[in-house]
């Protein structure tokens, strides 16, 4: 990874949420010491179950939350602290987000042209009305919609089409990093494949850099160049899809992989699943660290656990 151009570099990111006062005070460690890098033109997939902190990670990167500690570098520039106006503009233009719910993420009172063009106007990326129209039209065609859709409102579209609009809006400002937070999980099965194919084509044609947040492991394996598995705010394992799927080391990753039902009745019929029991880790004496397995495959375990799991 050394020669590659790093677009996003997350180092020891922590995001704690506090609630209550006095003895009722609760601290939720939503993201706890997470580090990873995304290189230009690559897709990094964050997988995990609900509540594991994957969405919080995405939102902290896009500066929706102020991180508790840790640094985020975007194109080599530190973006996690206080920024001046010019820096903020660069971040907002450079990082765009595709949301899960295509209904609530589009303003119902704006036409498609206004939605897709809004980012361009705010960032003053276009000089005049003609240029704006041409650019919006280009984007909308790129995602498989047509010119007569431009004057319509979001409620006139189906879920799949709305997600296409969301993608067009994101692409309009030509961002160097796209954060896709569960972009297909709110859609119907046959529409999911359409959107996944579209994202895949765009990724190849435009060389997009994507942080892909999802819970579906087979989708992540198909779509991503690198994968990070998250559990309870920690990144427990990361590597290429082959490394993770062929040789899962962390017990949580193994349980997660075992839980995917495969469309093969003979193999699947009432088989047992591997269960993850967090109490197998005894970290009172020995602290876990991110350890190298092979190549780019890392796992978060203590030294003695590494020995046991690797010899399995």
């Amino acid at each position: 990874m050394a020669e590659k151009e790093i677009v996003l570099d997350v180092q020891n990111l922590k995001q704690y949420f506090k609630s209550g006062v006095g003895k009722n005070k609760v601290v939720v460690k939503a993201v706890d010491d997470v580090s990873f890098q995304v290189a230009k033109g690559e897709t990094f997939g964050l997988v995990g179950e609900s509540g594991c902190g994957k969405t919080t990670t995405g939102r902290t990167i896009i500066r929706l939350y102020k991180p508790t500690s840790g640094e985020i570098y975007f194109n080599g520039e530190l973006i996690s602290g206080k920024l001046d106006k010019e820096q903020k503009r660069r971040v907002h233009q450079g990082i765009q987000m595709i949301f899960q719910d295509p209904i609530s993420s589009l303003d119902p009172r704006m036409t498609i042209k206004e939605i897709v063009g809004e980012g361009l106007l705010i960032n003053k990326a276009v000089k005049n009305e003609e240029e704006l129209y041409a650019r919006v039209l280009k984007m909308i065609k790129l995602v498989g919609l047509s010119e007569d859709h431009l004057s319509r409102y979001p409620h006139e579209f189906s879920g799949g089409q709305r997600q296409r609009i969301g993608i067009a809006r994101v692409l309009a400002t030509n961002p160097s990093l796209i954060i896709a937070d569960e972009p297909i999980s709110a859609l119907d099965v046959s529409i999911q494949a359409q959107i996944l194919n579209l994202l895949n084509d765009l990724k190849r044609e435009m060389g997009l850099t994507i942080l892909f947040i999802a819970h579906n492991l087979s989708v992540v394996k198909y779509f991503c160049d690198y994968i990070g598995v998250m559990n309870k705010g920690k990144l427990v394992e990361r590597g290429t899809p082959e490394e993770i799927y062929e040789n899962p080391v962390h017990p949580y990753t193994r349980a997660l992989l075992s839980a995917i039902p495969s469309p093969d009745p003979d193999l699947e019929k009432w088989r047992g699943y591997e269960v993850y029991d967090p109490s197998v880790h005894d970290y009172s004496v020995e602290k876990p660290t991110m350890q190298l397995v092979s190549g780019s495959h890392y796992v978060y375990l203590s030294d003695s656990e590494m020995k046991t799991y690797l010899n399995r």
């Binding site: 119907d188 494949a193 359409q194 075992s258 995917i260 039902p261």
Partner: protein, 357 residues
């Protein structure tokens, strides 16, 4: 295999079920002539996209269709009587005792301001007229059997104290409390995480085998179908387009919609540079169902006749049926997507290797 299956006792026989909704825009034909059989102790999985009519079909079997729905025709024979013609009074005796249902969202199917224990023991006190103390004992036993740790403490807690998986366990406990003959599961694991889904599926399977309850399982996840189903009905636009045993449908799918459904999701063997087989367009508007095959608009293998005439159910084997003109003797030969063919090939090889030992 098929002879053995045929000897099983038929619990429910649904024939030509047709349901429509009266809306301001007109009559929506949600279910258009659905037929299937449910055998004792077996699981029938109904697969399809949202809007394909799978939920509406089973809701009519529970007598819980919304006010604006009408059952146009059809029968659902259960213990010698037609469920579709039951009055509300008769339904009160049928529901919970004979037919029970588990819904997708366990939070909205539990009463948020009533203690979990009361919601479970209610079945015993109200339905079976048991004294309170005995009902509590029964409830605790039931909670233990569905894997709730510390049932004595949990008995006095409210639904919001429970996690999604635990809530679904409670709902399963309530549904099974009075030993129904038929259990209907409407996407019971869709709202859950994969590892929790695995636990809940194992629980449903365990309980089902123990009690020999016949199950109708609705889902859109084919992996889940493979896990639970003995028989599969694939629905599209209010019709069953393919029907057969799990082996029939997974290893020898014949309907192009089944092909697309199976090939549209990446599996573990799919390479990154292979394209997914995506259906273009969206399901048809059921206010005005298209003439001919409802799937023809989106069907890359559509024949001319598909746009004009509705295909009948063609028989492939004693247990396997599909409604597509491609099965007509004079239809051209077409191949299923190669991604799917490869997956089936792999599965069959694995199965053979296993059989050889």
């Amino acid at each position: 295999m098929s002879a053995e299956v045929n000897q099983k006792e038929k619990v429910l026989e649904v024939k030509d079920l047709t349901v429509s909704f009266n809306t301001l825009a007109g009559k929506v034909q949600a279910v258009r002539g659905v037929s299937f059989d449910l055998y004792k102790g077996e699981t029938l999985a109904i697969v399809g996209e949202s809007g394909s009519g799978k939920s509406v079909s089973v809701k009519s079997l529970m007598g819980i269709l919304p006010q604006n729905a009408t059952i146009e025709k059809g029968t659902a024979m259960f213990k010698g009587r037609d469920l579709l013609k039951q009055t509300e009074k008769e339904w009160e005796k049928t529901r919970a005792r004979e037919v029970a249902m588990i819904f997708q969202d366990p939070l909205s199917s539990l009463n948020p301001i009533k203690k979990i224990g009361l919601q479970i023991s209610e079945i015993f006190t109200v339905l079976h007229k048991m004294p309170k103390k005995a009902a509590k004992e029964k409830s605790l036993e039931l909670m233990r059997s569905v894997g709730i740790p510390e049932p004595e403490k949990r008995f006095n807690q409210y639904p919001f104290h429970f996690s999604g998986g635990m809530r679904q366990r409670i709902v399963i406990a309530i549904a099974l409390a009075s030993n129904p003959d038929i259990l209907i599961c409407d996407e019971p694991t869709t709202a859950l995480d994969v590892t929790v889904q695995a636990q809940v599926l194992s629980l449903i399977g365990e309980q089902q085998r123990e009690r020999q309850v016949s199950t109708i399982f609705i889902t859109h996840d084919l992996g889940v179908v493979a896990h639970v189903a003995d028989r599969v009905a694939v629905m599209y636009a209010g019709k069953v387009v393919e029907y057969g045993t799990a082996e029939d449908v997974f290893y020898d799918p014949r309907h192009p919609y089944t092909w697309s459904l199976m090939a549209s999701m990446p599996d573990m063997d799919l390479d990154q540079d292979e394209k997914l087989v995506a259906l273009h367009g969206t399901p048809p508007n059921m206010l005005v169902p298209p003439p001919g095959d409802a799937f023809s608009e989106r069907n890359p293998w559509a024949l001319k006749v598909d746009f004009e005439k509705e295909p009948p159910m063609f028989k492939i084997s004693d247990t396997h049926y599909a409604a597509t003109w491609l099965l007509h003797p004079s239809a051209p030969k077409v191949e299923m997507p190669h991604v799917l063919a490869r997956r089936i090939q792999k599965s069959l090889e694995r199965k053979e290797a296993k059989a050889r030992g």
